[in-house]
Symmetry: C2
Subunit: 425 residues, 2 copies
């Protein structure tokens, strides 16, 4: 079996390793457009911040790991420009044709717009981050503008503030982090402002025309679908590649994974496009295993994510009330403020929001804002979403308590109880 994987970061390499596990004798080749493979892109803001000293610290595995230990061929700086599926060939920019029996398309996403201005940067690839760090080190900019209030935008603003720059953040809507949630956005905005970020909500801006020594454009990510679409692969409702639960595209033998494709949302059952590294890895594993002849199912996504904004942990899973309403649910929302752990263990404030459906009491989403205790609460809610749990059962979860780690009534449970009362229980 000859398996070709296009893309050598999260989804592509997860696919390679699972394909190898499923078929010890397959011939597996990874084609990567860039110079580097297997780096943790989620760590790039920390390279910018200076906490990560070198890009090497973000490398998960060196190429030798894949080549020597897993007999996976890695070819970097190999750009695929066309897929001729009838002939089972990937055409490279060099003109070379690479034969495949099974193809895994893990080509990721790209910024819709790339400026030619030398002071305007993206923070999407390792190369972007390295150029940006060099600019910071050599040009010593004093003012920065960030365009976009998604994950990368807020992480970039945090990093630049940590480096001492004056930062202005433009965002074209009133809600941050793709959440459509005024409550969450207000808390996050307040923290950014406390941290000295000059926040311009509901103010679209063109990166090239902004008055700042340095501009980071973190708007408009697009899935890399064109080449596969040209080869005949279908797109989903979001414009990303449509895939079956086995991560196969509409082209037989062609799988897709990661930021280029849609996933089924476990709450709504509908296709969504939520590009995240964890999802890319999970999709990649399933795509790789199936490409090598296994039969695995992708369980879908809840959009669970966590981000550090100016020291604050902000996490979401499932839908906000507004998103849930748009998906056809009848959402009810409860919000509580609690403490992450006992006061005498320096427990900080934590905010928990839960959303449930009025019709059947099913949990639809959660958002948690606080410090180190946020992960526990958001992941517990994410597990409940996977189980399609209703709030009655959720409010009775048997969670762990000791003063150094939590409070006797966990803030998550306090929110669940409040929600139950709103649901007339």
């Amino acid at each position: 079996m000859r398996i070709v994987i296009v893309g050598g970061v999260a989804a592509g390499l997860s696919a390679a390793l699972q394909a190898r596990r499923a078929d010890p004798s397959a011939e597996i080749t990874v084609l990567e457009k860039g110079k580097r493979i297997s780096y943790g892109a989620c760590g790039l803001p920390y390279l910018l911040e200076g906490r990560v000293a070198s890009i090497d610290q973000l490398v998960v595995h060196p190429p030798a790991y894949f080549e020597k230990e897993h007999n996976v061929r890695i070819r970097t700086q190999c750009e695929v420009v066309a897929i001729e599926h009838a002939r089972r060939e990937a055409v490279l920019a060099s003109g070379e044709r690479v034969r495949y029996e099974r193809l895994v398309w893990a080509a990721g996403a790209r910024p819709a717009r790339i400026s030619r201005e030398p002071r305007v940067f993206r923070l999407h690839t390792a190369e972007d981050a390295l150029r940006l760090v060099e600019f910071l080190d050599t040009r010593r900019p004093r003012t920065a503008a960030v365009v976009g209030g998604g994950y990368i935008g807020l992480e970039a603003a945090t990093a630049l503030r940590a480096r001492g720059l004056r930062v202005r953040l433009y965002h074209d809507s009133t809600t941050l982090l793709h959440r459509e949630d005024p409550w969450l956005s207000k808390l996050v905005a307040a923290r950014l402002e406390e941290c000295g970020v000059d926040l311009r909500l509901n103010e679209p801006a063109h990166p090239d025309s902004l008055d700042a020594d340095l501009v980071i454009d973190s708007t408009g990510l697009r899935p890399n679908i064109e080449i596969l679409a040209e080869a005949g692969a279908s797109l989903g409702r979001t414009g990303a590649l449509a895939v079956s639960e086995h991560m196969e595209t509409s082209l037989h033998g062609v799988y897709a994974a990661g930021d280029c494709c849609e996933a089924r949302h476990i709450v709504s059952g509908r296709g969504v496009w939520i590009p995240l590294g964890t999802t890319a890895n999970r999709m990649g594993r399933v795509a790789g295993a199936n490409a090598a002849g296994r039969r695995q199912r992708f369980e879908g996504v809840a959009g669970t994510s966590i981000v550090r904004v100016a020291g604050l942990a902000v996490a979401v899973t499932g839908f906000s009330q507004q998103q849930a309403r748009r998906e056809g649910f009848s959402p009810v929302e409860a919000v509580v403020e609690g403490r992450e752990r006992a006061r005498y263990f320096f427990g900080r404030t934590i905010h928990v929001q839960l959303v449930a459906d009025r019709n059947n009491c099913r949990l639809l989403g959660a958002a948690v804002i606080g410090d180190n205790g946020v992960l526990a609460r958001i992941n517990t809610a994410a597990a409940a979403l996977s189980a399609r749990m209703d709030v009655e059962v959720f409010a009775e979860l048997d969670l762990a308590y000791a003063p150094p780690y939590s409070t006797v009534t966990d803030p998550l449970m306090a929110a669940a109880r409040r929600l139950l009362r709103l649901l007339d229980h």
Copy 2:
């Protein structure tokens, strides 16, 4: 409706508040044997350690909160010595008889043995802790012996080491924390020894005969069931009070909650006796609501708990392999060592153990040992146990990732994947 609640700590007061919520006009009286009500008993080791400066810091609500804000009558130093259920009367030590229509028995548990030696202490009630602190402050003991390797024993050993005493810990078995798990016990024992605790496993000891300036006996807790048993209430397989899913005992109109009664284990479906503060609160809420005429169901327990042992967070939920085998399952166990978060965010080592049933891949239990990241993993596993999740679904949970809070493959998921391979997936 006249509701009498016996016991004024976790279960009793949760019952009082829920009864009030369910019936605004009920006459609710709490009878507490001790001087204090509503303190967080789980904080007592930190009073001993010196981190909590005064018992007042552990008080959840003062009596006035219950009396003025919720119209609940609180009577302290009122010991119930008999229940005459035919006459619906509780008989106090003073001879006074208190009439009830509904009774909630939340009398907790007690040490099986109380020494008369002045240097031998328990750490069960607020009074115990205060006596112990006074002894430490005035007598300045230099050596201590702790008997019992359960939660309190290990917390007490930790606290005494933090105060600079030389500590020897005796435990009559080879496994710690009631877990019957050599893996967990070995990691915990190693940390205790690193911390300078002289650990004597599998060495029963009588507190009175130990050579130490101070002895803490933390063995042999017994449920307070005798008075209610004499009144005719049935006991369960564990010797604690048997209750229905509505927390009603075999005596009509008499409910029980907390450390005096059994609970249904959500994994095995059988009655277990796992006295914990969180469980007591949850049981109390259901007992109180039902006593006041509602119809609520107690969802059962997973035995989820977390404890700090010499700085290490040790948490369990569900069954260990050995416990699962005894409950009739065919358990398989996977253990992984990972990192709580990115190395450049000072991520410490975390150990995760998962247990599943070979027959149907259902998750049966988890244990997690590490630092501040333990809560997230154990609570996620606890939620999965409540949902009766199988490992295939569990291994695909959509969990949150960002370098400051986790790793791209969460150690919990790494353990789940290892378990899947052992289950031949």
